[in-house]
């Protein structure tokens, strides 16, 4: 892993990143990125494919052992990752997946509670294969929640779900975040998803943030709101999508 300095961050910050560089062979993926995330802040990270957004998330998660790089990276010890696939162990029951690696019987109770919170009470002893895609992703959310993370990293967590399930998952995630208040970094390619969920939206392009936008719309956010449409077309143009002639859905 790239060297990290032990520099202390202010107590109000959950994440402090300074001039973070990540390279694959000769290609620079992250080119000196700076970012601070407040405690409890919900940040969405948008970017074209190949813009380095997953690399950034994996650097924060400490999953980039073999990647070359430099920079300061200060993240809470207690962080949790939700992947695009639910990544449940098929040979462990739902509740065992939630409490994976937690010690003893106190974990069991917490696991049941977390499952109830994501609306899966009664399915504790099912096998992951018996659940639908949306349900599996809810188990993955419960697995993160039960650890009460200070930072939740989500890498396109709803990318593999159908549109209707995705909307339901947005409501659930918003609700859970309001209750547990972790800092969140949500990597997504879905502009609407970012606007409906985030307090702040970043756009990554060629290894640098080219946009840092605070979203002050009231929640729950109405997709028909003209300000919503305005933010959407602004973000789309930053992502290099030609928005002239496109209408807000």
């Amino acid at each position: 892993m790239a060297p990290h300095s032990g520099q202390l961050k202010p107590a109000t910050k959950a994440v402090h990143v300074e001039s973070l560089v990540r390279r694959f062979a000769t290609k620079t993926i992250l080119d000196g990125v700076d970012l601070d995330i407040e405690r409890g802040e919900f940040v969405a990270l948008l970017g074209k494919s190949g813009s380095g957004k997953s690399t950034f998330l994996r650097a924060l998660a400490g999953l980039d052992h073999e990647v070359e790089g430099t920079g300061t990276l200060d993240v809470p010890e207690n962080l949790s990752v939700v992947f695009q696939d639910a990544r449940l162990l098929p040979w462990r029951s739902v509740v065992q997946n939630v409490t994976l690696g937690l010690p003893g019987t106190s974990g069991q109770e917490a696991g049941r509670k977390a499952l109830a919170e994501v609306g899966l009470q009664g399915r504790e002893n099912a096998w992951p294969n018996q659940l639908s895609g949306g349900e599996q992703q809810r188990v993955a959310l419960a697995r993160s929640l039960v650890r009460d993370p200070a930072l939740l990293l989500a890498d396109e967590p709803f990318g593999a779900l159908d549109a209707l399930t995705r909307l339901k998952m947005h409501d659930l995630l918003r609700e859970l975040c309001a209750r547990h208040r972790p800092a969140v970094l949500l990597v997504t390619h879905d502009v609407d998803e970012a606007i409906s969920l985030a307090d702040r939206i970043l756009v990554l392009d060629e290894g640098r943030f080219i946009e840092d936008l605070r979203i002050d719309l009231p929640t729950p956010r109405d997709h028909g709101d003209p300000r919503f449409a305005q933010i959407r077309s602004h973000l789309l143009s930053r992502l290099g999508v030609d928005v002239s002639g496109r209408k807000a859905a």
Binding site: G62, F83, R87, L89, P90, W91, R92, G101
Partner: protein, 293 residues
């Protein structure tokens, strides 16, 4: 849809019209082009798996009864049944069976333990792999039969030579399949274990070993079959007891019926032990069955 129309009386007029259109479209269906041919093998035949063996037995019975089959070449089924009864009466079948089964189970158990330990050591550490994998691959290239002369020189012709031969044969499939399963554990699960900050012990017992279990059980199925096969080999060379010895002795005296009794016992042993492993597989891998059902 119907409820909307019930509420809105004006639109309900359209309902019968739709029904007619629907009825009309179904009526034209049988008159359409001929049914599409299915590409699959079609539905299962009841007792399909039993038909082949039953046919063979039927040919055997008919051939013997009509005198088409020379009893010196292949004894008639009833002669075999008689020989079966006679061998049990004399106690020869039971004695030889117990001797053979003891050898097979002993060799299987020892081979199972050694093969699993080798596979886990090689699967979980690079040093272990460097030390173990090569020798096992070399052993795999040597036919068990070819090792027997050396084993006789080392262990004599007693039980230890026979059990060692079975152990050496069994280690290979257990090792290969378990090691392969350990190595092909999805790297995504390794990442997951890292982000969950699992301990090394939890990682091995929650992720690695259960994940490799299907491979181990596949290896076990091969091993079980192989332990009976190697038994035949060791018992037909320098043995004074066991099913293989019984068969070999019968060859000396030209007793086709006794040879057939021995073969039938081998068939039953092979099928029963394979069935037992499959039963074990079904119980242990119940999380997989849900995928198939």
């Amino acid at each position: 849809m119907a409820t909307t129309w019930d509420v809105d009386g004006g639109k309900s007029v359209r309902t019968p019209h739709r029904d007619i259109a629907y009825a009309g479209s179904t009526a034209t269906k049988p008159a359409g082009p001929r049914a599409r041919r299915k590409l699959g093998p079609g539905p299962a035949i009841p007792f399909g798996l039993q038909i082949g063996p039953a046919l063979l037995v039927l040919i055997w019975v008919a051939g013997s009864a009509l005198g088409w089959i020379d009893p010196r070449i292949l004894s008639a089924p009833w002669t075999v049944v008689e020989a079966f009864g006679r061998l049990i009466e004399q106690g020869r079948l039971q004695d030889n069976f117990v001797t053979s089964a003891t050898r097979a189970l002993l060799g299987l158990s020892i081979g199972l333990v050694i093969g699993t330990i080798l596979a886990v050591t090689a699967g979980l550490s690079r040093i272990g792999e460097a030390l173990i994998d090569g020798p096992v691959q070399i052993k795999r290239a040597i036919p068990t039969l070819a090792l027997i002369p050396l084993l006789i020189l080392w262990f004599g012709i007693g039980e230890s030579m026979k059990v060692t031969t079975i152990v050496l044969a069994v280690i290979v499939p257990i090792y290969i399949h378990t090691h392969n399963a350990l190595r092909s554990i999805d790297s995504r699960y390794v990442e997951l274990a890292e982000t969950l900050r699992m301990s090394q012990k939890d990682f091995i017992f929650q992720v690695v070993l259960p994940g490799a279990l299907p491979g181990f059980l596949l290896g076990l199925r091969f091993a079980v079959t192989l332990c009976w096969v190697s038994l035949v080999v060791v018992e037909q060379i320098n043995a004074t007891s066991g099913l293989g010895y019984m068969i070999d002795l019968a060859r000396t005296y030209g007793q086709t019926d006794v040879i057939l009794v021995g073969l039938v016992v081998y068939v039953l042993l092979g099928l029963v032990s394979d069935g037992l492993v499959r039963l074990l597989e079904r119980r242990v891998l119940s999380w997989r069955r849900t995928l198939a059902s």
